[in-house]
């Protein structure tokens, strides 16, 4: 991608304008307020998918993001309900808890590669679900319900974010929150990938032994990447719990973990913004096909197979091929 600097800045500004101004304007004009919820979900899921993408970037197939999303949701819910924390504090807490957990889990399992890592992470999702069912603090299959909406956030007496419960349109507030986090998350990702660490991560993806032989600390790097990935998963899970005001062991299951992975594949593994596009397309595709009733899954998976045959390197690879031809 050799866009020059000005086009890149213009693209970012255009994107921000669309997300923060155009979308709310269009929604309030058309009166389709339900779209806020859809778009909020897309934004949150793309944060979690971005984490999965980062583990792909170091050459690991991660099907365990659902575990961290679930953990994040529970950490936030328990801190709010049992310990009276403010939601805004639980957000980083959930992320950090997941990151810490992922360091502990990652140290042994990141030694695995290829399918082994993929399968262990898949199992991890199941472990998280079973733990949520078995632990006393998570309230078993009944889950944690009626979590209050996020309260006001004020620093030095200045209210930065108003209390969500007092807002007329808490959907818009959640949308803005999710989208802001998504922008921040992808900015971090972009920065990370185009930094020295990003280049080192790419070397891991290609050949770990070679990278380690020329002095790259591979064990450290992959734990860091995995921790960042899980941090994103935890944060997105925490907001999900806040939006739905509830969390159950079945809130994030193996299917969700697989979907996070599919989002990355669909967008394209070689592109930082792949997960965002992939999530958008998959989520909206699924929603649009709702009208087809019982054929929904059939058409959806059929399209996915066709897409895979035509564009096995992701949707964003389309841009690349046309540019090459033109």
């Amino acid at each position: 991608m050799t866009l020059n600097r000005n086009t890149r800045i213009a693209a970012v500004v255009a994107f921000l304008a669309i997300v923060f101004i155009a979308v709310p304007a269009v929604i309030s004009l058309s009166g389709r307020f339900d779209l806020y919820y859809t778009l909020t979900s897309v934004a949150l899921l793309s944060i979690a998918s971005a984490g999965v993408w980062l583990t792909f970037y170091i050459g690991r197939i991660n099907i365990g993001q659902g575990a961290y999303a679930l953990t994040g949701g529970y950490v936030s819910a328990i801190l709010v309900m049992n310990h009276g924390w403010s939601f805004w504090l639980t957000l980083p807490a959930a992320g950090l808890f997941c990151a810490a957990a992922s360091v502990l889990i990652g140290l042994p399992i990141l030694r695995l590669r290829g399918v082994y890592f993929a399968m262990v992470t898949l199992v991890l999702t199941e472990v998280a679900r079973l733990l949520a069912l078995a632990l006393p603090i998570t309230n078993g299959a009944k889950g944690i319900v009626s979590i209050p909406l996020p309260g006001a956030l004020s620093v030095f007496g200045i209210t930065l974010i108003p209390d969500f419960a007092t807002l007329q349109n808490s959907r818009l507030a959640f949308y803005l929150l999710a989208v802001t986090l998504m922008v921040v998350c992808f900015a971090i990702m972009y920065r990370l990938v185009n930094s020295r660490i990003g280049k080192l991560c790419q070397s891991l993806q290609q050949n770990e032994e070679l990278a380690s032989s020329i002095g790259v600390n591979i064990a450290y790097l992959r734990v860091i990447a995995y921790a960042v990935s899980s941090f994103f998963g935890g944060v997105s899970g925490a907001i999900f719990a806040a939006i739905s005001q509830s969390i159950y062991p079945s809130s994030f299951t193996v299917t969700d973990s697989v979907n996070f992975m599919l989002n990355c594949f669909l967008g394209g593994l070689g592109y930082v913004f792949g997960p965002m596009l992939g999530t958008l397309v998959l989520y909206f595709g699924w929603d649009l096909l709702f009208q087809t009733g019982r054929f929904q899954l059939l058409i959806y998976s059929g399209l996915m197979i066709v897409l895979m045959l035509v564009l096995p390197n992701g949707l964003l690879s389309l841009a690349e091929t046309t540019r090459k031809k033109g």
């Binding site: 590669r113 594949f265 959806y300 197979i305 096995p312 390197n313």
Partner: protein, 288 residues
């Protein structure tokens, strides 16, 4: 105690047969077949239709399950996986394809057979009750059949020309090609055989546990577990993994009964610890 071991052996024989198909496909193509559980379910439903609905003999039903799945597997390899492997930059892209086919099978099964739990009449009546072991005869028959199939598979891989070609392929694809092995053809046969095994187990088990459209995913996860225990892509590993998981499940359900439904939690935790000590499973090759 004898009862627990007998249950474990019976479970293990079935599990090993499921894991064999998965590991075969993985060994030949480096594809993690997410749709394996769905293939199992499809096999179960075919046997249900042929044996339960149409009233044909069980053997015919089992053959029908195996053959249909073999054809499906061959087509999948030829038209889907081969194409994607050729076009994609990264090997992992096949996982999206595999997951998509899993969803696709789920949808097809749901449309064709509905969401109800289906069972068929017992193939053999009566219960074996001696020496402290209680076991219905049909379970013994199914367990024995599973062991026969496993033995047949191992012998076929070991001594037939096709089996030898496939083992060569699993060892080193390029070298096999240079020696004149028709790689494409044997990949297809291998995929078909893997799918066939899944179909056959589905057909066998429908006589005991019945089948419903939702169990595909959990079966896949169990198959993954077994393959991980034994080591991916190794026939012996899959068999060992199957029997170990069967035994652990059987023992776990008895020993951990008072702690509630934690058997699988314990199995998963044990697996994590085990894999951190032996990342390639019991017999797996190092995988990069």
């Amino acid at each position: 105690m004898e009862q627990v071991i007998a249950n474990g052996l019976y479970l293990g024989a079935q599990y090993a047969l499921i894991a064999l198909g998965l590991t075969l496909i993985f060994a030949l193509m480096n594809v993690l077949n997410f749709a394996h559980g769905q293939m199992y379910v499809l096999g179960g439903f075919i046997t249900y239709t042929v044996y339960g609905q149409l009233g044909l003999p069980f053997v015919v039903a089992l053959l029908a399950s195996g053959l249909t799945l073999a054809v499906i597997g061959a087509l999948m390899e030829k038209f889907l996986f081969r194409t994607v492997i050729r076009r994609s930059h990264r090997e992992e892209s096949t996982m999206l394809l595999a997951a998509a086919t899993a969803f696709f099978f789920d949808a097809v099964i749901l449309l064709l057979f509905g969401e109800k739990q289906r069972g068929v009449p017992k193939i053999v009546k009566g219960v074996f009750n001696d020496a402290g072991i209680i076991m219905p005869y049909d379970r013994i028959v199914v367990g024995a059949l599973a062991i026969v199939f496993i033995a047949a598979f191992v012998l076929y891989m070991q001594y037939s020309r096709v089996g030898r070609a496939m083992r060569a392929l699993a060892q080193d694809r390029v070298a096999a090609q240079l020696m004149g092995v028709r790689v494409d053809r044997y990949s297809m046969i291998g995929f078909a055989m893997g799918a066939m095994l899944a179909g056959v187990v589905g057909g066998l088990l429908v006589t005991i546990t019945g089948v419903n459209s939702g169990i595909g995913g959990p079966i896949s996860i169990k198959a993954f577990l077994m393959v991980m225990i034994g080591g991916a892509g190794v026939v012996g590993g899959a068999i060992a993994g199957g029997f170990i998981l069967g035994m652990m499940e059987s023992v776990g359900l008895t020993v951990l009964r008072e702690y509630g439904d934690v058997t699988y939690l314990v199995i998963f935790a044990a697996l994590m610890v085990f894999l951190s000590v032996r990342p390639n499973g019991l017999m797996g090759k190092p995988w990069g």
